[in-house]
């Protein structure tokens, strides 16, 4: 990318005061990137930013509390940082944020579907409009916009919301390819038994690996997740769909008005359960009731983390 060198220069400048800088680098094959921990000068050269930089590195921040950490963020990742700051889970003075104008990242599930069982990837060339992938037997040319993650197709914050260094030219307010929550609204038009049936079927696949939870930057309970505790004992360890549904409901409730819809939960799920939709549902309700969007204003208090005697849009005392 154009600004990659500029970014490396910024990191080089900041690194002496930092314990680590989080970014991305190449992975096991040309189609994948992996989180990159820059500790020494020589690690900087491996940094790569591309539509494969899918990971939300903010997930690492709470665990690195107490250290001086630099982090490269996409627009959406910066919202997680904002949310973590709001919730007092990281200290602003300990982190250095590197922003860049993001043009979107791919959804590996969409690519996998387009390629079918194609075997090993030899090369992968990404231009502004296409991804050309050379597999063992042939070259596949995919349209980039079609391979973009859903969140990128509706993205409204491509430039980091907060940053200490920003490289490249800001994109500003983009025209989203799709409107927010269109898919959610289509789903909501189904009947209750249809929707319930859908979730029973989808969640029956869940293996309770908790990857969705571990990938979430805001699931900060870690060792004390309600899913694995006996005190309080919300869930049994039995293998039944009831507890799986309950787990996702708990996750969605805990995320209401905090989730920035970064989609890491869904991306991490090894069995492709569309768990993000549950969080979107909660967020849409929060937006409608409180006119609030998570992770866009570092000074704001998430509505469910405050207490008011009287809520403007909830009339409990109407008689």
């Amino acid at each position: 990318m154009k600004f990659q060198e500029e970014l490396k220069d910024s990191i080089r400048k900041a690194l002496p005061d930092l314990d680590v800088v989080l970014g991305w680098c190449g992975s096991f094959d040309p189609l994948h990137a992996t989180p990159h921990f820059i500790r020494r000068e020589e690690d900087i050269d491996k940094l790569e930013i591309s539509p494969l930089s899918v990971h939300n590195l903010a997930t690492y921040l709470p665990g690195l509390r107490g250290k001086k950490v630099g982090i490269v963020v996409k627009g959406c990742d910066s919202r997680s940082v904002v949310e973590l700051l709001q919730e007092n889970l990281i200290n602003r003075e300990d982190i250095t944020i590197f922003g860049f104008p993001c043009t979107g990242v791919v959804d590996q599930a969409k690519i996998k579907k387009a390629l079918g069982h194609a075997g090993n990837v030899r090369t992968c060339d990404i231009s502004d409009s296409a991804i050309v992938i050379q597999t063992e037997d042939k070259a596949h040319s995919l349209t980039l916009t079609q391979m973009l993650a859903d969140k990128c197709r509706t993205c409204r914050y491509p430039d980091a919301i907060i940053s200490d260094y920003f490289v490249g030219d800001k994109i500003g307010e983009p025209a989203p390819l799709e409107t927010d929550y269109a898919a959610l609204e289509a789903f909501e038009s189904l009947s209750v038994p249809e929707r319930f049936g859908y979730w029973l079927k989808e969640l029956d696949r869940c293996i309770r690996c908790y990857a969705c939870r571990s990938a979430c930057p805001l699931c900060v309970c870690r060792d004390h997740c309600a899913a694995e505790s006996r005190d309080p004992h919300w869930l049994s360890q039995e293998n039944n769909v009831r507890d799986k549904v309950m787990f996702q409901v708990i996750h969605a409730y805990h995320m209401a008005g905090r989730c920035t819809e970064c989609g890491e939960c869904q991306r991490a799920c090894p069995v492709d359960i569309p768990v993000l939709m549950l969080k979107q549902k909660m967020n849409r309700e929060i937006r409608d009731i409180f006119q609030y969007e998570a992770g866009v204003d570092p000074e704001a208090t998430p509505p469910l983390l405050s207490f008011n005697m009287e809520e403007e849009n909830i009339t409990e005392k109407e008689w």
Partner: protein, 652 residues
């Protein structure tokens, strides 16, 4: 745990629609239940004795009573199990009366539902733990907010009972609305003759400290140990040396200041004493009208004051007071009637409020007790009273009855005749609500002896005709339109919560209804308590009330405070939240949401953790539903206790 279950008949209240013997039989099959029976009246002495005997005989570790609501008898049964040597929290109640027998007729379904409720109670009981209260010292001083008749009564009763009282009054004088009234129903005795001495008592009582013209800035702490920050608003007069001689007031050249005490009938001077009997009788400057403060010129009062008290530079001052209990007696204010276009929306000078009329009737008022039309100073002949202005009117958001307007309107009609024997009074009313002692007799007298014409119906329009007002309305009893030529129209304006009641409630952490009136602990059984321990209510701040009821509630609040302070130490309720520091990640979400400020951050081995101050925690449970980790748990209502009830109910 060995559990005993007692299913109450409540006479026929429960037994009529629930097969209590069958409920007891079903309970015997539940895990841990070793004894179950049905009894006629569990709360009666033999009923309680049966529980005690069963605990001893069967060596029970916990008891379930299936009967009425915990609000009714939880305390009763907790004492019962305590008598038998159990911890009071090893008891659960299943409500099979209000939740079952009173709301359904189908005996079989009712019986099944009762069995479910008992199953839930036993499952929870198995997870109950003994809980113990802690003792803490209390500060036996009381704060009374508001110096109306209710606050005065509470303050005097507490002070006579030996307590130190701090009274904070927003206005420059105490007395509230009653000080503005001429005479009072139903005895038509002079208001200031009965209130005046009480006001003087407040000023002179060695146990009472009065902060007039002051407001509550901040309240911290909890029952037994509140810390109050009081704002003494700048009066520009040193009250320690002001003797209330009134020379300043005589000579002040700025005579256009708003006369709040006289409800805006007439004007007053920029430096003024609200009325001759004011307590404290001290002058204060209204800075908006003082030429010295506004323009830097004048200074007459400073020159003339014999005690040299004037200080144009005075600032608000803050003092801190420590008390153990609070009586809130902030009263009411009048509804802003200008919303009513049909009554002229404030355009006609001869349409006035009932309280303005009281000032006009009062011999110490701005007209010296003469009834005069504000427009031309003439004596009116026809006086029309309109009731329910801003009461019982959904269209203006005031569906409730203000309670005292029917009565004071009758009083004012009687007084009108006394003042002006040739006058004729008309009253437009909806219903006459005269339910107090001697009240109906009183309204009848207004009609029969004083020849007041009562017309049942609403007024649809008032408009000027010559120098009079034409009042057009319906007489719903006659089914006819009526028109009255009026010289003066008096609106019985309804009561609403005192200005600023909501902000004060938030500082006190008490709740209020959608009209701003403070909520009592229970509409019937706890009329002076609030849901915040140590905060009590008196008078019209809780809902419109006439003087006898306000005084009664003032005394009741004082009795509550004296009762509270009859012990040297209080016991904290152990049903509070507790943080499991292993699970707490110190995010502070609970600190943000706790409406009582009961959680603070502490440090544990270098990590931030939440800590609940048990004396402040009210057990509302908001923190427990906020904390994602479930690190903070409300004792006696832990997640696991509630989940066990849910699981007992939703078995599949």
């Amino acid at each position: 745990m060995k559990i005993g279950v007692f299913v109450c008949h409540c006479g026929s209240n429960i037994e009529a629609t629930v097969d209590t013997a069958a409920v007891a039989a079903a309970s015997r099959e539940f895990p841990d239940v070793v004894f179950a029976t049905d009894t006629m009246y569990t709360c009666s002495e033999p009923g309680q004795d049966e529980i005690v005997a069963a605990i001893k005989e069967h060596n029970l570790g916990g008891v379930v009573v299936a009967s009425c609501t915990p609000r009714m008898h939880e305390q009763t049964f907790r004492r019962t199990v305590e008598r038998a040597g159990l911890n009071r929290y090893l008891f659960e109640m299943a409500n099979i009366r209000e939740h079952v027998s009173w709301i359904g007729k189908d005996r079989e379904s009712n019986t099944n539902k009762s069995v479910d409720l008992v199953r839930m109670a036993t499952e929870k009981l198995m997870r109950n733990r003994p809980l113990y209260s802690k003792k803490f010292d209390i500060n036996k001083r009381v704060l009374v907010i508001g110096g109306g008749v209710a606050g005065i009564q509470a303050a005097l009763d507490c002070a006579d009972g030996g307590l130190e009282v701090v009274m904070v009054e927003k206005a420059p004088t105490i007395g509230g609305k009653m000080a503005k009234l001429d005479k009072t129903f139903p005895t038509v005795d002079c208001s200031s003759c009965i209130l005046g001495p009480r006001m003087v008592d407040v000023a002179q009582h060695p146990n009472i400290t009065l902060y007039a013209y002051s407001e509550i800035e901040e309240i911290n702490g909890y029952v037994g140990n509140f810390e109050i920050k009081v704002k003494k608003k700048a009066t520009y007069v040193d009250w320690d040396s002001c003797t209330g001689c009134g020379i300043c007031m005589e000579k002040c050249p700025s005579k256009k200041a708003t006369d709040t005490f006289n409800e805006g009938i007439g004007k007053t001077t920029a430096i003024n004493i609200p009325f001759p009997q004011a307590i404290p009788k001290k002058a204060k400057i209204d800075p908006d009208f003082c030429t010295k403060i506004q323009k830097g010129k004048c200074g007459v009062c400073a020159k003339l004051c014999p005690s040299g008290c004037i200080n144009y530079e005075m600032q608000d001052e803050f003092v801190t007071e420590k008390v153990g209990a609070i009586v809130t007696a902030t009263g009411f204010d009048l509804f802003d009637w200008s919303i009513y276009g049909e009554y002229g929306a404030g355009r006609y000078p001869d349409v006035i409020t009932s309280l303005q009329y009281e000032r006009m009737l009062s011999a110490s008022g701005p007209t010296g007790g003469h009834i005069k039309r504000p427009s031309d100073g003439k004596e009116p002949k026809n006086v029309v009273f309109i009731q329910c202005v801003g009461s019982r009117d959904k269209s203006v958001g005031r569906p409730y009855c203000s309670g005292f307007c029917c009565m004071y309107t009758a009083k004012q009609a009687i007084l009108t005749k006394d003042h002006l024997p040739d006058s004729q009074s008309y009253v437009f009313y909806m219903d006459i609500r005269a339910i107090g002692k001697l009240y109906d007799e009183f309204t009848r007298r207004a009609m029969e002896e004083y020849d007041t014409k009562y017309i049942r119906g609403r007024v649809s329009m008032i408009y000027p005709q010559g120098d009079r007002l034409l009042v057009r309305g319906a007489d719903t009893l006659m089914g006819a339109q009526v028109e009255v030529d009026a010289d003066l129209v008096v609106l019985a304006v309804g009561a609403e919560a005192a200005a600023g009641a909501g902000e004060l409630a938030e500082k006190l952490r008490i709740s209020y209804d959608s009209y701003g009136f403070y909520m009592e602990g229970h509409p019937k059984l706890k009329p002076v308590e609030t849901n915040t321990a140590g905060v009590y209510l008196a008078g019209a701040c809780q809902g419109p009330k006439d003087i006898p009821s306000s005084v009664g509630q003032g005394s009741a609040a004082a009795a509550k405070v004296l009762g509270l302070f009859s012990k040297d130490q209080l016991e904290s309720d152990p049903q509070v939240s507790v943080v499991d520091i292993k699970r707490c990640i110190g995010c502070g979400k609970c600190i943000q949401t706790c409406p009582f400020g009961a959680i603070k951050e502490m440090e544990f081995r270098g990590m931030a953790k939440a800590d609940v101050i048990e004396t402040i925690c009210q057990g509302c449970g908001i923190c427990t539903s906020t904390c994602p980790q479930g690190a903070v748990q409300l004792q006696h209502f832990t997640d696991n206790q509630i989940l066990s009830e849910v699981n007992a109910l939703c078995r599949f």
